[in-house]
C-alpha cells in the first residue's frame, strides 16, 4: 500500500471550484437540487485523494450525491470546507462521513440566505441601479458597466470564499455568521436603499391631469399643487401602495402586476391620469 500524502494544491481546488461555479444550475432537480454538480465538483479532488483506491473513491462520490442546495457564489465557502475535510479524511484522520454531511446540510441554509441577500438583493441591486439610471439618460455605458463589475465581483467573491473555506475549515462558519458580516450587510443595506430610492424616483412615473376650478380664478392643475408639496409624490405613493399590498395583504408579485394593470387602465379611462 502506497503512502497517503496527497495534499490538495491550488490547481486541484480551482478545478473543483470551476466545475461548481460553471455548472451549478444545470441538472437542478426537485429531489436533491444541485447534488449532481456538487458531486462532479468534488470528483477531481476525490480522484486525487484516492488515486489508487477506486472503491473508496466511488464510496465518497456516492456520499456526495445527497441533497444539496445553496446560493452558488457564497456556497463556495462550503465547497472549500468540505474539500479540506475530505483531504484530512483521506490522510487517515478520523472523520466520519456523517460529519461531512452534517457540515453541508447545516451550512447550506444559512449561506443560501446570506447569498441571496448579499449577492442578489444587495450587490446586484446596487450595481444594477447605477447601470439603470445611466441607461435612463440614454447612456449605453450603463449595461456595459453592470457586466464588467458584476461578473468579476461575483467570480472573485466565490474564489475568495472557496480559498477561505479551505484554509479555515469549519472555523469559517463563525466568520460568515459573525459581527463583521452583520456590519457589512447593514452597510450594504443602507447603500442599497438609498439607490433604490433614486431608482424609484427615476423609473416610477405617475402624474395627474386633473384640474381644480377655484372660484373666480383660473383652473389650477392638481399636479402643480402636488409638485409644490413634494415632486414625485404620486410615484412614491403608488410604490408604498404596492409595498403595503405585498407585505400586509400578502398579494403575490404576479397578482400585483395584474392589479396595477387594472388600476392604471381605470386611472386612464376615468381621465384622472
Amino acid at each position: 500500500m502506497s503512502e497517503r500524502n496527497y495534499k490538495l494544491t491550488d490547481a486541484d481546488l480551482r478545478k473543483s471550484w470551476f466545475t461548481w461555479i460553471m455548472f451549478d444550475c444545470c441538472s437542478n432537480n426537485w429531489e436533491r437540487m444541485q447534488n449532481i454538480d456538487w458531486a462532479l465538483a468534488m470528483a477531481p479532488t476525490l480522484r486525487k485523494l484516492y488515486q489508487n483506491d477506486d472503491k473508496a473513491f466511488a464510496e465518497r462520490l456516492t456520499a456526495h450525491m445527497e441533497f444539496f442546495n445553496t446560493q452558488p457564489t457564497v456556497g463556495c465557502a462550503i465547497l472549500g470546507i468540505v474539500n479540506a475535510m475530505e483531504e484530512e479524511k483521506a490522510a487517515g484522520k478520523e472523520i466520519p462521513s456523517e460529519a461531512i454531511s452534517s457540515v453541508k446540510s447545516s451550512m447550506m441554509g444559512p449561506l443560501a440566505g446570506i447569498g441571496d441577500s448579499v449577492m442578489n438583493s444587495l450587490i446586484e441591486v446596487i450595481l444594477m441601479s447605477i447601470a439603470m439610471t445611466l441607461a435612463y439618460q440614454g447612456n449605453v455605458f450603463g449595461p456595459i458597466l453592470y457586466m464588467i463589475t458584476w461578473v468579476p465581483i461575483s467570480v472573485g467573491i466565490s474564489w475568495f470564499l472557496m480559498k477561505r473555506g479551505y484554509e479555515l475549515g469549519v472555523d469559517s462558519i463563525s466568520v460568515l455568521n459573525g459581527e463583521a458580516m452583520n456590519r457589512l450587510v447593514e452597510g450594504l443595506t443602507t447603500v442599497g436603499l438609498v439607490v433604490i430610492g433614486g431608482l424609484t424616483a427615476t423609473y416610477v412615473g405617475l402624474s395627474t391631469s386633473l384640474t381644480i376650478n377655484v372660484v373666480d380664478a383660473d383652473s389650477t392643475a392638481v399636479q402643480d399643487v402636488l409638485d409644490s408639496i413634494l415632486p414625485g409624490l404620486l410615484p412614491l405613493g403608488i410604490t408604498l401602495f404596492c409595498y403595503w399590498l405585498l407585505t400586509k395583504k400578502k398579494v403575490s408579485p404576479m397578482a400585483l402586476i395584474l392589479i396595477l394593470f387594472v388600476v392604471g387602465t381605470l386611472l386612464s379611462v376615468l381621465g384622472i391620469c
Binding site: 441538472s27 449532481i36 447605477i130 467570480v155 438609498v194 424609484t200 413634494l230 386612464s268
Partner: protein, 261 residues
Amino acid sequence: MEITLMQAVMITLFSVLSNLMFPLLGDIGGYFGIGRPLVAGTIVGLILGDVKTGMLIGATLNAVYMNSQAVGNVMSSDVTMAGYTATALAMAGGSDTAMALALSIPIGIFGALLFTAQNAVCVFVCHWCDKYAAEGDTKKMWLYGIIIPAVIFNVIRFATTFPVIYYGAQYSAAIEAWMPEVVTNAMGVVGGILPAVGMALLLKVMVTKPSHWCFFLFGFIAFAVLGIGSVPLTILAIGLAVVLDSVRGQNTSVDSLESLE
C-alpha cells in the same frame, strides 16, 4: 420594424445563453448577467440596429422584475426568456414599452413552467447518476448528468423562443397599428406605474427595521428634488453607511465599557 431570420436566430441564441440551465458561469454570467432585462434589451437593440430603444425597453422591464431570483428553485417568472422575447416583439411592433411589459407576463410564466418541468425531468437524471457514482464513473456522470440534459433543455429553449420572435414579430406590428388610442393611453399609464412592483419587492426584502425607510426616502428625495445623479448618489450613500457604521461601533464600545463598570 421587421425582424429577419438571421436577427431572430441571434436573439434566440442569446436567450439560450442566458438560460439558467446553460453553463455560462452558473447564474453569474447567464441568469444574473446577460439574462437581466437591461442587458438583454441592449443586446436585442444592438441586433435590431437600435441600441438605445432596446436598452430603454429593457431598463423598464428590469425595473419591474428587479428582484426576481429563484429562491429555492421556485421561479415565478423566467425573466431571461421574457426580457429577450418581449423586447424583440415590442421593437418589431413599434417600440412600445408598455407592450413589452404586457408581453413579458405570459412569456415569463411560460418560462417558469418550463423550468419547473425540467427540474422534474432531472429527478430521473439524478437516479441514473446514482448508479454511475456507485461505479465511480465520472465520465458517464458528466454525459448523462450534465451534457445530455443541458443539450436537450437548451434545444427546447431555442425551439420555444425562436418561433415566438420570428413569427410573432409580424403580428405585433399589426396589433400595434390596430390598437385604439384609449388602450394606448391606458398602457402608457400602466407602463409608468408597473416599475413600482419591482421597487416594492426590493423594499419588502431590504427593509428590516423602520429606520431603513429614512435611507429610501433620502435616495428618493436626493433624486426627485435635488436631481443628484446615480454615481454621486451611490458615493454619498457609501459615505453615509461608513459614518453610521463607525457611530454604531462607538456606541457598542460605550455599551461594553458600561457593562464593564
